[in-house]
Subunit: 544 residues, 2 copies
């Protein structure tokens, strides 16, 4: 499959030079800075600040803890890591410079070993001013260094500059563009074309989708407000994340104009219900605008049938958004990506690497098929931030597309993880988690004292079940049993928290009383963790 | 002054126990976990994982780099830091537990030395599930450890759980509440009562202020949309941050209904212009809703006259928001907080510790005088996240107040900095930056080749000026000079970036051609950095 090809990787080089207007993305990726940071070559003060000569060129992320026998490489790796902030601090306090350097920008198929060519940096010096958040301190550096430890096998040197203009965060702007392009390719949009941003979470990404849908069909709302549009309605599953309703409230649609769609017994939207509700809304004089299809619902892990929903959206000319906050990660898996079949027909997609893919919170992307619409919707062209008369191509100043001003550099940890694990690393992670949840499902589906909330193998890692204590097992179905069963999961969870051994979430859903929902997103979890969970539920719940 | 009293500090103790309903905030602050993490007492595998016995109890943040002679303590400190993640990784992979432990929760007046009692942790184990973002990896830990290195003098042990329920991030929920209360006290709201949240940046905080103002006066918009309200207008300075306009666009008001207020020559709102525009809007049938007063404008660093604006807001019953994203930090300074006089009369305040106070991006607070209004405005009561039948007081589940779902734990770095620096540390930081900007102002105000954009000592650290190259000095004022001068700052900045020595921002403003805006927020900057900047401008600009 093309997504496992690695065709966007420029060859390593060390060209010196400054970014000029009209450099292509690839050319910018090859530009390198003027100093070898790791060698601390402007510090003559103390040999301690010189580079530690440990060789990590054959070290992969998978060699570090939690890997078996990972202690020794992890210790060595952490030791090296501490040398770098000292080096950085010592040099930057006495000098001014800028640097960016990166040889291999692409998000690779296979994991990469540690390499000096991963180094990267934003702009910084004590005298770089004009941006109110640039201030340098040891802490800033360490914020980033730590992220690198993690999954990369290498501590790059960099400053945590915020993202709104290219000059402030050149490396991160380029990383973001390249990574978003790769994500769009995996969605299936031709050549990965389109638009996108990293946002502070899936709820905000979903909010963006509603904003840009409104801008696409009623651009005058930007200047004149909602009074310039007819009464618009949005559609989303009754099982969808509450952020669609929150967006409806915040953006001035009103929650009553967010119409909830019925689902089948597995929690998937029934397309016929969508069409019926569109027709009904139109008959009432409302204007249908937007449909959200969920790829991986919060509770059941359900995947709405995107292709059938897309057919209806095309028929009625509606914006199709896919909320893949939880399920988007499955695009990385050749075995499971068919569950998102049709996602390439969406106008926009939410995909949170901080969920299924294990990137530390926050890391969420809003991906958009049409280029330019994010900027059209959100830009205010504030002259004091986005000056048009800079000496570089200001289309790289991406900040005005966002509803934020400065943005946390969420891209970097994701990009590094991709470098370290490769696409196949993410695939293995995801396949393993889905295998584990199937292990749980197989273990309890016919076990005494358990009832599944829905039949069949879960689509995602969500396994939803009731534990029936012995005292309820013989009880006839009815209100009394329902009331008692409703209290079982909260009690067991409370006891878990009291004893501090484990914790598993529960919730009611529709007319179903409280049930447990186990999700597996942790690649370090094992079958024995699952066994332990079941043992704990039975130990704590036996006498209820 | 009361803000420099430290009256909310419970005494240290090590009580064991689990949180129960009805515990007060102070009681919760004293609860401690069941394991001494630092001693790694469940790891018998390797002596390397035992606690490093370095004593940091007399080490303060100010002793570390960039302090003079800070190398040795910093190196020792970093070495200890690497022991902790190894310890954590080794123990957590083989066991399950939860812990929280903290003896002194308050935001202190004076800096605190390193202390074991600062340790803190969220919930984690391999088998704690049900939250899709909990996954543990070395990286998660290091994300937080790094933040601690920085300003604290101590690496606590903790997981980067996200904030939406108390059970998932108990420590951070409490930290957030205590810190927001302290911030509200510094604003001057009685007993620090009120509400608030940390949000992903000042633009989002400002957006919250508009949302809750609308909810306060027209709560039915939440369910019915903007069509349920009359045509609402918002007021903000022509010098204010563009996020107010962005919020107007996003929330369905429309940018044309964000009315810009005229300012005086220093960039401060003219109160009479506000009143005139309110009256004009009412006469046109619009309904004035909201006034934003800026405390520290982006370009001039101007402080709007809050008291006079508050008088008008009271007279016309409008919501008063103070955007102190940039200037809020001055509340920490006894010398400069008078510039925000009247802020206690605001209904809501934006205050970004990630700007003037040096907290790494992102760290922004929206503070609200009326309790409960954030929840009223934003809550959707999703049963799968916010179950009412938990065994603890669910008013600590603060997530539903936000437009986000999971939130990045921005509070922690700020809280730690406050512990390490104390209020007086922030005060020194701020006073020093303002002194430095005054040094710059004094240096150039009468210097040949410089013109100030406005007269008088800047209110904040923003120093706005033109550099006039010798070729323009004799030229008569007029269009030709304006056009040439407009191109000077971009050219000098481009040359600065080419040579990589320094960087200072520029922008036009109103009818003023491009001028430099130097801001100082970096406490490591020195007078010689300022001297260097001026030398560079003159070196690079001399022949233009």
């Amino acid at each position: 499959m093309e997504m496992f090809g690695d065709n966007s990787c420029p060859s390593p080089c060390n060209t010196l030079g400054f970014l000029q207007k009209n450099n292509s993305l690839e050319e910018k990726g090859r530009l390198a800075g003027q100093k070898n940071l790791l060698s601390c070559d402007n510090s003559d003060r103390d040999a301690r600040f010189r580079r530690t000569e440990t060789d990590f060129s054959n070290l992969f992320a998978r060699d570090l803890l939690p890997a078996k026998n990972g202690e020794e490489p992890t210790i060595q790796f952490l030791r090296l890591s501490t040398a770098l902030p000292r080096c950085w601090t010592s040099t930057t306090l006495t000098s001014s410079w800028r640097v960016w350097r990166a040889s291999t920008w692409s998000c690779p198929t296979n994991p990469s070993p540690w390499s000096r060519s991963w180094w990267t940096a934003g702009t910084h010096s004590n005298t770089a001013s004009g941006q109110v958040t640039h201030a340098f301190s040891t802490s800033c550096l360490l914020d980033w260094t730590s992220l690198v430890w993690l999954e990369s096998g290498s501590p790059p040197l960099l400053t945590p500059t915020c993202k709104f203009t290219y000059e402030i965060a050149p490396v991160f702007v380029l990383m973001e563009q390249l990574t978003l392009k790769k994500m769009r390719e995996m969605i299936g949009w031709p050549s990965g074309e389109g638009d996108g941003l990293f946002s502070p979470g899936g709820a905000i990404s979903n909010m963006y989708s509603v904003m840009i849908a409104r801008y696409k069909y009623f651009p005058e709302v930007k200047t004149k407000g909602m009074s310039a549009a007819p009464r618009l309605v949005l559609f989303t599953s009754e099982h969808s994340h509450y952020s669609i309703k929150k967006a409806g409230a915040a953006l001035g649609f009103g929650t009553e104009n967010v119409i909830l769609l019925s689902t089948d017994e597995r929690g998937r939207v029934i397309p016929a219900d969508l069409e019926a509700k569109i027709i009904d809304a139109k008959q009432k004089g409302y204007v249908p605008l937007f449909v959200n299809a969920t790829a991986g619902s919060t509770v059941y892990g359900a995947f709405d049938p995107i292709n059938e929903i897309a057919d209806i959206c095309e028929k009625y000319n509606l914006w199709l958004h896919v909320d893949g906050a939880w399920g988007g990660g499955l695009l990385m898996s050749r075995k499971h990506r068919h569950k998102l079949s049709g996602i390439e027909r969406a106008n926009s997609v939410t995909w949170n690497p901080h969920k299924m893919m294990g990137v530390p919170l926050q890391c969420s992307a809003i991906l958009v098929r049409e280029k330019g619409i994010l900027a059209g919707c959100n830009s205010m062209c504030a002259g004091y931030l986005f000056q048009p008369d800079k000496q570089y191509d200001v289309t790289y100043d991406t900040g005005d597309k966002a509803i934020q001003c400065g943005r946390h550099v969420d891209i970097f940890k994701f990009w590094l993880m991709w470098k370290a694990k490769g696409t196949i690393g993410f695939e293995q992670h995801i396949d393993k988690c889905l295998d584990l949840s199937q292990y749980l499902y197989n273990k309890i589906k016919n076990r005494e004292g358990y009832e599944m909330v829905f039949d069949g193998v879960p689509q995602h890692t969500n396994v939803c079940f009731w534990y029936i204590p012995p005292s309820l097992r013989g009880m006839p179905h009815g209100d009394e049993r329902r009331e008692k069963l409703h209290r079982v999961a909260p009690k067991i969870k409370a006891m878990m928290m009291e004893s501090g051994t484990t914790m598993v979430g529960y919730q009611p859903q529709g007319n179903k009383v409280n049930f447990f929902r186990m999700v597996v997103s942790n690649p370090a979890a094992t079958q024995s963790d699952i066994d332990f969970l079941i043992d704990e539920i039975e130990r704590l719940g036996h006498d209820l």
